[in-house]
Amino acid sequence: MNDLMNRRDLLKLAGMGVAVFVSGTTVRAGGAAQIKNESFYFVQLSDTHWGFNGPNINPDSQGTLKKAVAAVNGLDEQPDFVVFTGDLTQTTDDRKIRRDRMAEFRDIVRQLKVETVRFMPGEHDASLDRGDAYQEFFGDLHYTFDHNGVHFIVLDNVSDPMAAVGDKQLQWLKTDLQQMKKETRIVVLTHRPLFDLAPDWDWATRDGDAVIDALMQHPNVTVLYGHIHQEHHHMTGHIAHHAAKSLMWALPEPGSVPKKAQIPWNASEPYKGLGFRELEAQVASGRYDIKELPVSRG
């Protein structure tokens, strides 16, 4: 089958009355039931920082997330699920405001058409109270789920304010990985980079090396994360790491300026540097095709 013809292309053909018959390990267009190992697609949104207020950075801080939700709802085909890779809310010392922001964020993303939405915390959500408020609204800080033959591992590298996964969670990860067959497609979802992208800018996980060592035993691992507010791609051995854009403000490329700072809003190019992404999971080959999308199509 032509790799360029993905699941949605096939579904469009099927919708046009074209009969499509392909291998059971890829797609059964026209069939309602999904089977293990068929390709699928999902959407990643990140770093929405609900509650942030900075007119010079994002004068539409109250509207950007809502526009993104509308954009996802307007996709030609709805994704199988949506994942938010942390920093759902802007941090605050005030416990009540923290919870208010989480409630508002939750209410906005409830407008998504897609039924399955996965969350994980960023340091803004969870570092000041070790994830107490986050868990009240969004559940566990780390967990796994499976979808069409892909094993997703959600790792928490933020509820410890020292940006560590920690021994206990690391052991949990190793136990989970031991239960996986060698050929299992594994996707790790986390907030901070697991490798030392820019430690001077706090773009690292203190014990990320130990996590990567554990993952390295498996031949098909992809890591999706946020935190750095820009698209970024990196390999550690055979493991691919892909960072997503933010939906509140953009940050400069690592090491490109002496001091990390939010990129000011550009009125001539509103929402520049912001966006979300689709990921087409080609399960049979273990490949993920990434397509970056703007905040809105307007």
Binding site: Q90, T91, T92, D93, E123, S127, L128, V158, P161, M162, A163, P199, D200, D202, P258, K259, K260, A261
Partner: protein, 123 residues
Amino acid sequence: MKNVMIFLIAASVGYFHEESVLRSSPGRAPSNEQTIRVSASTFEFKPSEIRVKKGVPVVLELISEDRHHGFKLAEFHLRADIQPGAAEKIRFIPDKTGTFTFFCDVFCGGGHEDMSGILKVVE
């Protein structure tokens, strides 16, 4: 004996870089040692710029005015947790000139990302 010889040779050529980042320990301080008090509070270090001389031993005396902060100076492999009510001392010998960034590596709130300073090491 062989191990001792290796140690002596390595020490004589400065192999043990970590020697320059020894944490505070009992004993007599070098006579030219410079002590610099650095306070951390949300979301700044004071002073935010520290000037030292290459080769002159330095003690950074770190204190927190409010909450748990961190201090990381990656170029010299230095880091410390700074808790309120307890001074943390880091002793090191700057062995290279230049301007180096130090920062808080314990998430401490909304201005955490801006909490940094610079160390200037001059001849």
